[in-house]
Amino acid sequence: MSGRGPTRPFLRLSGIRKEFAAAGGTTVALNGINLEIARGSFVSIIGPSGCGKSTLLQIVAGLIGATSGSVHFEDHKVDGPPPGALYVFQQYTRSLFPWKTVERNVSFGLENRETLSRSAIAERTREIIGLVKLTGFERHYPWQLSGGMQQRVAIARALACRPEVLLMDEPFSAVDALTRVGLQELVRSLWRELGLTVIFVTHDVDEGVYLSTRVVALTRAPGTVAVDLAIDLPHPRDQIATRALLQYLDYRATLLAQLFADEGLVAREVA
């Protein structure tokens, strides 16, 4: 761990197994996943596509149930979306409500979740929109914005509810490389400023190492934990300097070696 915050288990996944009905029987997507996640950590879950990493996140979010095993959020067993955890979908174009303006999208959770006065909702909405640097676009509709801006609206909508945990499912996979860097910096700074716990699903090893305090790599389906690596890189991180650190390259090599081995590819650069 990076040493931020207390390390008592905050989020606990025990013996998660998930089966899906398939032609001619069932396929096992996840098997025997045990993880304890500390408050304030930034955990990336990486793995080859189809390894069940998104499924795992949806189980943590209470969007789907596990076949067996359980998720505990502090002392509560998750059997539906827990109020303290919010989910940011990969498909921002589909997750934002096109009939609502940016402002109304951001306040969606607030209006529905908490008993706040109109002015308090407006106040917090404005504050969060400023935090994701969308001031001036309040009255725009999401579809009038670029992909990166839309994903920021989705992040703002989640943050407006002041969640303790942010669950992000490949949130930057649909934007271009430069936009992605901008969003990575945004999420990292929000994580640090707001003391969030982030679980971040990605297929990009570099993104996982750069952002996280811990990276969990899953094997191919049925997904199990292959590598569980604490990322002890200094904060603040820098897109160029951090990525040039020997330590960074070490983490990267370990994880890539695992992924390549799992895929049956030769990991020449590790040798």
Partner: protein, 281 residues
Amino acid sequence: MTDSALPDATPLSEPAAKRPRRYALPWQTRWLGVAFIVVLLLAWEIAAATGAMPSLSFPRMSGILAAWWRLVVSGELPRELGDSLWRMFAGYFIGAALGVLLGLLMGYFRIFYNLLEPITEVLRPIPSPAYLPIVILFLGIDDAMKIFMIAFASLFPVLINTYSGVRSVDPIQLQTARTFGVAGRRLVWQVVLPAASPFIFTGMRVSLAVALIVMVISEMVAASSGIGYFILSAQRGFQIREMFAGVLTLAAVGYVLNRLFVAIESRVLAWHYGYTQQQRH
């Protein structure tokens, strides 16, 4: 806050600089069609004036327009039209509201679908004039009968479209609402209805045309007022100019209602047009 910090901070929506527009020639616009109508009316006038058509059943257009004007000034036509429109809107809004409600229930709860889908499919294909005699038996020939007829006929297009709309709400939107703890009535008002609204509007537009038709039919069969009654009784009294004036009025009313509907729709669904256009890029 400035947005210059992030590379993607330019909205795509900035209207593209307007191209200098040259004047369109009349035949490149809808004025061509308007002119075509004028030509047809003139041909009508000439055909009737020269006696090329039987003048009794085919009066001159100028005579029809004069009769129409007399009926408007005397207040007869506005009165009949007022009676008709009140019935039509009463029936239309009752039918549309029920259609949305039932479509929502059927789209949302499997049990309502299983319960109501068969009877919907049985009742829907019956042309409304066919059950008019039955409705007269139960409700007589007054407004209640006509409003029922119009409501019943307006119900199905709205119901079916609302159902399709509810079924096609993006599951990601529903999941998003769930993660924010939004469920039940709030989910319906905040997510399901707005997402289904383009479908609902389509159904309501179809129903509006249906309501106009059923209004006229039910007034022709049994009524003592209304535009349908007026047209039929003018024909029976050999007031052919008045009869045509009534039909002309219906054309105008249908046109205005549709334009009004489109105007409301494009306001309410402005987001939808913008959104779908963006998706196509």
